[in-house]
Structures are given as C-alpha cells and as structure tokens.
C-alpha cells in the first residue's frame, strides 16, 4: 500500500516571542492524511493554523510534538523536496529579475535536467498567461501577475505533490477560473494537490476532500461529497400533492414547492419516514428521496461556529 502523500500525526506548535511573552498555541495536536492523487482543501479562518501547518510540512519550522511526513520523508528532506512544488502565501520574489530569469534560477535549484530549459519556461509562462512580458522586471508586476508567476515556479520541477497556500489570492475572477482549470488539469494528470483557500466555493468545485481546522485544532476531515451531504434535511419529490395533505405535510415542518408535473418537499431528516409513509398512504408517487446538499461554506461556518461555541 502506497504511503500517504502527507501525514500529520498529533502535530503541535507553539509560538512565543524570544525570552518572554505568552505562549500562543498555533497547532494543538492535529492529525490527518492526504492520499496520493487527491486534491485536498485545507480550510480554516484567519489564524487557524493553515500557514503554520504548511510551514511545518515544508520544513520551514519545526513542530514541538508529533510527527509529520511528506511523500514518506521527514519535512525538509531533499528527496521529498525534489518532488514537491510549493507556492507560499504572498509569494515574494527578487524585484530586479524578470520572469524568465527567476524561473531559470528556480530551475537550477530544482536540479531538474531538461534538454531545453528555455522552451520549458516559455511553456509555463504561456500556461499561466505571462508570455510577452520579456524584460519587464517582476518589481513592476501587478499582484495577480506575481501570483501567476508563483504558480509557474511551483510547477517548474514537474512535481508529484503541489502544496499551494492561497493559490487564487490576488487574482481576478477570470484569473481564479484559470487557476481552477489548471488545478483540474493537474488533477487529471494524477498529481496530489494540497491547497489552502478562503474561497470555499472554488474549493468545493475542485477538491476531493477537505480538512477544516480552527484555532489550531482539527475540526473535520472527510470527502467533499460526504461533507456537502452532511445537511440534516432531505428533499422528497412526488408527482402530486393533494391540498388537504399539504397542510399535514407543512404541519411536520416541511416546505412545499410546486412545479409543473411535480412537487418538491423539503423537510428535516428526522421527519423523512413519517412524511414518506404519509405520502404513500395518500397514493402519491414518490419520485425521489435524497439528502439535501449544503454548500461548503455552510458546512464550514457551521463547524467553525460550533468550535467557537
């Protein structure tokens, strides 16, 4: 069995100003796994510990407790880093270089041997829509252009695992869609992608799994579909609903929506059986009975809200 791409086991990290000051727990024993080939969203409010977790994962900081493994190696191990593409939050760069020179610099550091580095870099710049800016120093780039360049440098070493901290930060809606499409294309290639984002609707569209943390603690981890189906309401579709029965249905706290040729009834999951029996008894044809999906945002707010309470 292949080892997971990312393993966090009881990882804890505390920040403290040197010599004095209160100890601020950033991560309090979080454990989760990301399987190979998965696109996993890492979600949490500001200060929840996402960037700290990613820093531990990349070996930039050390955890005080627990163990983290990436592609089977300890964080910071060169053998793992050879196969990782990383986009830091607020990607920073050398202002005096242009995009091509920066990517050449990173390509040399990646150790990747390519027959034609120029063609590889030109291809990547086209992929992130930064072609045609030859000679323009990065210091003159817009925020969105810098972010695109950051994504290009993350893809440079043809990584097996992509760790992206807020990949759509600073991008306009069209840019966000481009990144989303790019991630979906990488997913189709079988790459593992671990990304943090504040834009939950995007994470919902592209991710297979989600891990939610709040104030350094793991709140929830699971498949995206299961997470979205975690709503406590069901939808029953019937061919017809007599007026007299509608009152009884509403009496059970359900809502009714009439459409051409069908009636949609939304109710609490707890009332599912009673409602179904009532409809069958009245000779209504139940066309479907499905759990109602919630949005990731609703799930997130509910889980994080519970954590706050």
């Amino acid at each position: 069995m292949a080892t997971p791409a990312i393993e966090f086991c009881d990882v804890a990290k505390t920040y403290q100003r040197r010599f004095a000051g209160p100890r601020i727990p950033a991560l309090s024993g979080i454990s989760f796994e990301v399987a190979r080939g998965e696109v996993c969203a890492f979600l949490g409010s500001n200060g929840a510990g996402k960037t700290t977790s990613m820093s531990v994962l990349m070996g930039f900081i050390y955890a005080e407790q627990g163990q983290c493994r990436v592609l089977g190696y300890l964080p910071g191990d060169v053998r793992a880093k050879e196969r990782i593409g990383f986009l830091p939050e607020n990607f920073a760069f050398y202002h005096h270089l242009d995009a091509e020179k920066l990517l050449k610099f990173h390509l040399r550091l990646s150790g990747r041997q390519v027959a034609n580095p120029g063609a590889l870099i030109a291809g990547l710049l086209t992929e992130v829509k930064l072609e045609g800016y030859k000679g323009l120093t990065i210091g003159k780039y817009s925020r969105g252009m810098v972010q695109r360049l950051g994504i290009a440098q993350a893809l440079l070493g043809d990584p097996e695992l992509l760790v992206l901290d807020e990949p759509t930060s600073g991008l306009d809606p069209a840019g966000r869609k481009d990144v989303r499409d790019l991630i979906l294309a990488l997913k189709a290639e079988g790459k593992t992608i671990f990304l943090s984002s504040h834009i939950l609707s995007e994470a919902e569209k592209i991710c297979d799994r989600a891990i939610i943390i709040d104030r350094g603690r793991l709140v929830c981890a699971g498949g995206m579909q299961e997470m979205l189906a975690q709503g406590d309401r069901v939808e029953i579709v019937v061919d017809r609903l007599p007026e007299a029965l509608e009152q009884a249905v509403k009496g059970l706290g359900a809502s009714v929506e009439r459409e051409a040729g069908r009636v949609r009834i939304a109710a609490d999951t707890a009332q599912k059986r009673a409602l179904a029996e009532m409809l069958w008894a009245a000779d209504c044809d139940v066309l479907s009975l499905t759990p109602m999906k919630t949005s990731l945002e609703e799930t997130f707010l509910k889980l994080v809200g519970e954590g706050t309470k």
């Binding site: 830091p88 920073a92 550091l109």
Partner: protein, 267 residues
C-alpha cells in the same frame, strides 16, 4: 552547482541594492580625498624635501586605506547579515528553501556571494592604492598579493561573524555588535600601553576577537599594514592567514548550526 546558483543570485541582488550604492559613493568620496592629498603632496615636492613628502603622502594614503578597510569590514558584515535577514524578511527564502536545497547549502551560497562582492571591493581598494601612489609620484613597493589576500580573509572573518549573529538576532543588532567589535579592536591597536590591561582580560580578548596581534606578543592574525610593510617569511604569512580562515570557518559553522534549527518564516 546549487551553492553557486545561490551565490550568483546573492551577488546580483547586491548590485541592485541601495545600501551598496551609498557605500560605493562613500568609497568614491574616500578615494577623492586621497587623490586630493596625493596631488597636493606631489605639487609640493621639491628635490630637497622629496623624502619627507613621500613620508607624508604615504601616511595620508595609509589613513585613506584605513578608512577604506574599515568601510570594507562594515560592508562585509552588513552584506552577510542582510543577505540572510533580507530573504527572511521579504519571504523570498520560502520559495528558495522549498527547492531541494539543504540549509547549509543556502548559507554557503550566501557566504560565497558576499565573498564575491568583497573580492570586487578588494580589487577596487588595491586599484585605489596603486593609483594614488602612482599619481603622487611615489609608487608603493610591496607584494600585491598581500593587499589582495589579507583584506579578503579579514572580510571573510567579518562576514562569518555577521552571518552567525544574524541567525540569532536582527541585522541592526548585528551591525551594532560588529561596530562595537571594530571599535574595540581599533582601541586595542591604538592603545599605547597594553601592559596595563590585566592578563585575565587580554587572554579572552585574544581568543574572542579577530586581528588581535597586539593583545598578546605572539602573532595571531597580522593587520594589513603589518603584513604589507614588514618582511615576514612565508610560513608566518601562512600561519597568520590560516588563523584568520580558521576563525571565519568556526563562525560560519556556528552560523550553520544555529540556522539548521531556526524558523525560516517571518514570524
């Protein structure tokens, strides 16, 4: 290969740095001051006072050299501290260290980049000395390699000290400590009677500070003037340079040891 890539990038970054531009202007100002003196003494030289004028000119050039040398020490320390702290402050280090690069390789690349900068500085300093003495009409007769190698080793020491300190504290504090150390050394070099300083102070100073020949009688690391003007056998030169490089190496290894365990993030 990776160390060289980091070194070249570091050197390239220095060439776009405003502080380097200011220091280059200071270098130019010191050069012009020396040039003014050299030409002044040349115009005042007659057949009867030639020897005295030569003495005065060399003394003046010696002062210029001291200023340039001190400026070089500060530049080496600042460049080393800023090359690491600047990357951490701006966050550029994160994308770099995400590459298959070990922490010691990053630090070695940075150090090499600083030495590349200081090599250019030393060559410039050598050019200034030869130009001033030539224009002054009294060419300097010494081994040119001494004027290249000694300052370079000296700057390697200051760069290593600063690199070690910056792994522990912010660069402003580093420059404060370096300036204090430089002042202390200047005080010790200039002190007329070192025998007044008790041995229990002199001995630790001798081992803690670079360039402390005068603290104890035995030679540890020659000052550039000593090395340039006095005739020492090559074994003495080798010993003195080995002491200097050893000092730099110990500081650099300490820097690696601390950097290995510290956080690379801005926080």
């Amino acid at each position: 290969m990776k160390i060289r890539t980091i070194a070249r990038s570091t050197f390239g970054t220095f060439l776009h740095n405003k502080v380097i531009l200011v220091l280059s202007l200071l270098f130019l100002a010191f050069f012009l001051m020396g040039l003014y003196s050299a030409l002044k003494f040349k115009s005042m030289t007659t057949a009867s006072n030639a020897q005295y004028m030569q003495y005065l000119m060399w003394e003046d050039i010696g002062r210029t050299l001291l200023l340039l040398s001190g400026l070089g020490s500060l530049l080496a320390a600042w460049a080393a501290a800023d090359s690491v702290a600047g990357e951490m402050k701006s966050g550029t280090i994160l994308a770099v260290m995400a590459r298959p690069l070990r922490r010691w390789q990053f630090l070695a690349g940075k150090y090499l980049g600083v030495l590349m900068l200081m090599s250019v500085y030393v060559v410039g300093m050598l050019g200034v000395i030869f130009l001033l003495t030539w224009l002054g009409g009294h060419p300097f007769e010494t081994s040119w390699w001494v004027l290249l190698v000694y300052p370079l080793v000296r700057y390697a020491i200051w760069a290593a000290i600063a690199m070690f300190l910056v792994t522990l504290m912010n660069p402003v504090a580093v420059m404060g400590i370096v300036a204090a150390l430089l002042s202390l050394i200047q005080f010790l070099v200039a002190a007329s009677s070192l025998s007044d300083i008790p041995t229990w102070i002199r001995l630790p100073l001798h081992f803690a500070l670079p360039l402390t020949t005068v603290v104890l009688d035995e030679s540890r690391f020659f000052t550039m003037t000593q090395a340039a003007l006095k005739r020492y056998p090559w074994t003495d030169h080798m010993t003195a340079l080995a002491y200097g490089l050893d000092y730099a190496l110990v500081c650099f290894l300490l820097a690696i040891a601390v950097f290995q365990h510290r956080s690379l993030t801005r926080g």
